[in-house]
């Protein structure tokens, strides 16, 4: 019995039909909630929220391969790093504009993810988790290797500058950064939503839950798994690109294995195999360490660990699990 077999998760429940006006009202409300911080928050909080959105996007990427496809990755910080460096190198060495670097970053990360996906086919559960974890540990070492030091800046890292807002928009650079993070993330979340809701999503989950049955039904498991890795790496890599411009600096120390661990924590507390949960996970990994610090300056790491475990006790299937249960209760209450 491999570890993957035991990720017993419900298949997505059938979408309840919403009237068209309800759906557009939801979309409008979501849009308003996403844009309101632009005017409500001052620049520091807006910056924090930007980082949370970026983390949420990275968690979404991880969720595709681990949550929906059951391939445990503890090394997604590696893809985040590659995306960040792709953007940083193109912007600081070649003076590309930020938007132009995104496709390159996505393609590079997608290819690397595809490459990682192949050995992953042979490695089940735990073996894959540890192999990807070692990838996360090795990445900083590779980034500062002397053969590519000219491009990556070695241990000193690279500096870049956040793009200015277009002249016709009366926004500060911080506000514009938030908008960019929002735009890229919304597009990725929408694409992921469509992917998961459709045939491919069902195939991914079938491969996760009953690989042999899925194969017997004629699914090409190898192709599905490697493609899931590629898409996942691509999304996490785009989050890395955004973080490079938001922080305006990349260095090997920014992408230590702690980052991969953080992404994983975000996925688990948000809810495995949940798109909305990824959003919550991003908020959790960004804001909870600060809460932990406010509780104890002496050992914030201990408090963070305690909060994490307490959260998993209360909500073993994450924030998304709570939402699912609430929704189920609501549906039962109103027949």
């Amino acid at each position: 019995m491999s570890a993957t077999d035991r990720i017993a998760l419900p298949l997505r429940r059938p979408a309840t039909a919403l009237a068209a006006w309800q759906r557009s009202a939801l979309v409008l409300a979501g849009l308003a909630a996403a844009l309101a911080p632009l005017w409500l928050l001052e620049s520091f909080h807006l910056f924090q929220l930007t980082m949370a959105v970026i983390m949420a996007l990275a968690v979404l990427g991880l969720n595709i391969v681990t949550g929906y496809n059951g391939q445990i990755s503890l090394g997604h910080g590696a893809f985040f790093a590659v995306g960040a460096y792709a953007t940083a190198i193109l912007m600081s060495h070649l003076d590309w504009s930020f938007w132009a670097t995104l496709p390159v970053s996505a393609v590079v990360c997608g290819l690397i993810g595809y490459g990682v996906g192949f050995p992953a086919l042979r490695l089940g559960g735990l073996y894959l988790a540890l192999t990807t974890f070692s990838l996360a540990v090795a990445v900083p070492q590779i980034l500062k290797h002397k053969s590519i030091e000219g491009w990556t800046g070695g241990v000193q890292g690279l500096f870049l500058v956040k793009p200015d807002p277009p002249a016709f928009l009366p926004l500060t650079p911080d506000q514009w950064m938030y908008c960019m993070a929002l735009i890229v993330s919304s597009v990725c979340f929408l694409l992921a939503w469509n992917l998961i809701r459709g045939r491919i999503g069902r195939a991914l989950m079938a491969t996760r839950d009953h690989p042999i049955a899925a194969e017997a039904m004629g699914m090409d498991i190898a192709a599905l798994k490697t493609q899931a890795f590629a898409v996942s790496a691509m999304i996490t890599g785009l989050a890395g690109s955004l973080s490079a411009v938001a922080v305006e600096y990349v260095a090997p120390d920014s992408f230590s294995f702690a980052l991969s661990i953080n992404l994983f924590v975000g996925m688990v507390v948000g809810g495995v195999a949940s798109i909305l949960g990824s959003l919550f996970g991003g908020l959790f990994v960004l804001f909870v360490p600060n809460i932990a610090e406010a509780i104890s300056k002496a050992a914030p790491g201990v408090i963070y660990g305690v909060i994490l475990i307490a959260f998993l006790f209360l909500l073993p299937d994450g924030f998304a699990g709570l939402l699912r249960r609430l929704a189920a209760r609501l549906r039962r209450a109103s027949p």
Partner: protein
């Protein structure tokens, strides 16, 4: 720490509730009763060994407050955890500047972490004082006038070793053992500065990662390459390993150790006191576990402070003497400010320190700064381990002029 946090919460609440009450001419982070100072450190994660610096500094400011504060104002020292991750350093620094509205930033830890905020603080003209890192890029007043370091740079230290070595052994074959990060690489750079074109022929490099369990393989390689000298840019745990292993395999190179890792209590004793005989270093601090300073008035002052303000602190940890030194420098700057704690004046005073002695620094080593020279400590002295204590020899060296 607890008292500090309450003060912090009060301070934050105050600044949120009454943002526009502060008179326009008042300097940011300064009121009639308070000066707010911000810092970041690795309070969690693998680098949290340095968190004791923040603990020591908080205790120093508590002592000042007990004694009536600076110019009638209490110091509110706010330190946040960045886990040694550059993006979090930026986040926490922005919190300090934009939300807590500190007057200035002081002794933030780490090279990559400070790099992430280097431009931010200089664009906003926020004093970024006496950083806890030995990179030499902080002494660049022309491009980054608002950033100033404190300790002598690792690169200068490496230059001193290379020059001394060339004097003693002009045709040496040098082994260079360094941690593969900005700290270790500075030792490579410093040696390269001195050797120039001869570097490749004379030097055999061996790096290690902070995650390596041992460095035996590197030492075996350097010995096998025929090196007769060894410069080490490594942290204490590996330093103790290196000293012991070099001795055990009967290799007798002329061995230099970074002054980061020469504490008697935490390196020399664990390695074995007799195994390090002949080891060379160049330091600016007194080592609290060195018997030579048992009756030194400066170290007595430090011990007295530790007993009263950090009673649970580990006396063997030299981050506390570091904190005492850098904290004393900061207090000197605040005293020089008189009654004007504007950012401009704080920076002016921080870059105009007349040469002064500090209790925990070696005799003859001064703290000083000029608007054109941001190297606050620029003197060191060579010393040799005799099996019981560090013996200083030669004069005090300024820069790399051995």
């Amino acid at each position: 720490m607890r008292l500090n946090r309450r003060a912090l919460l009060l301070g934050t609440a105050g600044s949120l509730a009454l943002p526009q009450l502060a008179p326009a001419q008042e300097a940011p982070g300064v009121t009639a009763t308070e000066i707010r100072i911000g810092s970041t450190n690795a309070l969690s994660g693998p680098a949290s060994a340095y968190s004791v610096i923040t603990k020591g500094l908080a205790a120093m400011f508590r002592r000042v407050n007990d004694q009536g504060g600076i110019a009638g104002r209490q110091i509110n020292f706010i330190a946040y955890d960045d886990g040694y991750q550059p993006p979090r350093t930026l986040e926490q620094t922005r919190r300090l500047v934009e939300q807590d509205r500190v007057a200035f930033l002081f002794n933030q830890l780490g090279t990559p972490t400070n790099s992430a905020i280097h431009r931010y603080v200089n664009q906003r003209k926020i004093p970024h004082l006496f950083l806890a890192t030995g990179a030499d890029k902080w002494a660049n007043p022309r491009e980054y006038p608002w950033t100033i370091g404190w300790q002598p740079s690792y690169r200068t230290e490496a230059q001193i070793y290379a020059k001394y070595l060339l004097e003693q052994k002009p045709n040496t074959k040098l082994g260079l053992l360094y941690q593969n990060d900005d700290f270790g690489k500075d030792y490579v750079n410093g040696v390269r500065d001195v050797l120039g074109p001869r570097f490749d022929a004379m030097v055999k490099l061996a790096s290690h990662e902070a995650t390596d369990p041992t460095i035996d393989s590197q030492i075996v390689s350097l010995q096998a390459a025929g090196c007769d000298a060894l410069i080490c840019g490594i942290i204490p745990r590996f330093a103790a390993q290196a000293i012991r292993r070099v001795f055990d395999i009967g290799w007798k190179p002329m061995m230099f150790m970074t002054n980061v890792s020469v504490s008697v209590g935490t390196v020399m004793q664990p390695a074995g006191l007799e195994k390090g005989v002949g080891l060379l270093t160049s330091d600016y601090r007194k080592d609290q576990s060195d018997p030579a300073w048992a009756d030194d008035p400066g170290m007595k002052e430090w011990r007295d402070f530790m007993r009263r303000y950090v009673p649970d602190g580990e006396l063997g940890d030299n981050n506390y003497t570091y904190a005492y030194g850098v904290g004393s420098t900061m207090l000197q700057v605040l005293k020089q400010c008189g009654n004007d704690f504007s950012r401009e004046n704080v920076m002016r005073q921080a870059t105009n320190i007349a040469p002064m002695d500090i209790a925990t620094l070696l005799p003859g080593v001064k703290v000083q700064s000029q608007p054109r020279n941001y190297n606050v400590i620029r003197q060191m002295q060579l010393q040799r381990w005799n099996g019981r204590a560090w013996e200083r020899f030669g004069g005090v060296i300024e820069g790399a002029n051995v």
